[in-house]
Every structure is written in structure tokens, then in C-alpha cells.
Subunit: 121 residues, 2 copies
């Protein structure tokens, strides 16, 4: 099976990712690896992951997402999740996955602005 | 066969697209449709298409790309192509596809700046 790869855009010192289709497990794992490699390669200090187009999330994908956020933090990059839809927020809380300490914002623009403020540029 | 879809990010009044894998014909056609719909839906006045990760391009994909740029212009959006690699530039010129009148820039940041200047914001 061909694994989809999620494009990761570099804009100044931030990486932008927009997830616009339902993630399957392999794609999510590939994304995790790709994002960490890209943080390393670019030396990005911030990451915005936009979930605006994600309408459903399951426990495995939620765990991967939580993991990649923690891993990115360990590597020194701040992560902001944006555009979490009502159904996704409900699922996350009901699954007990509250993504503790993860910053969120309403949309990509606000997420980037939040990062800019925090990174002080 | 599942068609890959290329995520299109909206940032302020621009759309950002980063093509990070070789496009097959179906994906290219799907991208054309998705981009035009997104321009319509968001009222974006600029589009940056980043080809940094594209190492090879064939005549069909080059034509689709040229077409989508012209279509976007017709809809009122300025398009900037960024990150065209040497091999892609060589192929385009050798195929006689010179993407006349298409603006280009070295990378995503410079493309966005060019658009901002032109759109006057």
C-alpha cells in the first residue's frame, strides 16, 4: 500500500502542516517521522498543525498526535494545534486524551501569530 | 485507485501549496480542481505554489500546472511559483513550456513577500 505523505511547509522559522484528509495509521506514523526529521533539518523553532479539515479522530491517531507534539517539544520546537473541530474536541476529551499543555488556536493565522509572540520575533 | 489530494493552506489572503511528491496525472487534475474551488471559496487574491521538493516533471504535469495558473489568473488570483529546481527548469524549457508571464521566486518566503508587495498589503 502506498503511504500518503503530508506536506510540511517551512515559513521563516516555523513549520506549517495542514491535515486535510482522514489520517490512516501508516500515514500518521509517516507524518510523525517526517515532521521530526524536518524540525531537525530546518532548525525550526515552531510548528503549527492545522486540523480544520479533520472531522473525525480515533484514539490511535490522537495518541500519535500527542506523541509527535511531545517529541517536537523535546527537540526544542513549540507546537500549536489549530482548528480543532467540535466533534474532534469531544472525541479527544471523551477518550481521556486532553493533550495536556498543548497550545491551541482557532485557525492557522492565529496559531502563527501566537508562535511569533512566544518566539519573540 | 485512491487519488492523493494536495493540501491547500489559507494564510491571510493567500493560499499556499507545497508539492512534495511526484505528481501523477490524477493527483494533478484533482489538485487543479481543488485549487480553483478553494480560490472561489476563500476569495484568496494570491497563490504560492512551491515546487522545492519536485525533482522531475513531465509534459502533462507541466501543462496542468500552466493551465491552473492561467485559470487562477482568470479567477482574479495572482500566482507565484517558487523553488523550481534546475532539472525542472531544464525540462520545462526543453519541452517548450516556458510558463510565459508566470512569476517565480526562490522560495516560499520570497514568493509570499512578492505577493504581499503586489497585492499591496
Amino acid at each position: 500500500m502506498q503511504v500518503n505523505r503530508i506536506p510540511i511547509l517551512k515559513l521563516y522559522n516555523c513549520l506549517l502542516v495542514s491535515i486535510q484528509f482522514e489520517l490512516d495509521d501508516k500515514t500518521a506514523l509517516q507524518f510523525q517521522e517526517d515532521l521530526l526529521k524536518k524540525i531537525h533539518a530546518t532548525g525550526a523553532s515552531g510548528v503549527v498543525i492545522d486540523l480544520t479539515s479533520v472531522e473525525v479522530i480515533d484514539s490511535f491517531i490522537a495518541k500519535i498526535l500527542g506523541d509527535v507534539i511531545n517529541m517536537s517539544k523535546l527537540m526544542g520546537a513549540k507546537v500549536v494545534l489549530t482548528g480543532i473541530q467540535p466533534a474532534v474536541a469531544i472525541t479527544l476529551v471523551e477518550l481521556g486524551i486532553e493533550l495536556q499543555g498543548v497550545q491551541t488556536a482557532l485557525d492557522l493565522e492565529k496559531g502563527l501569530e501566537q508562535l511569533k509572540l512566544e518566539l519573540g520575533d
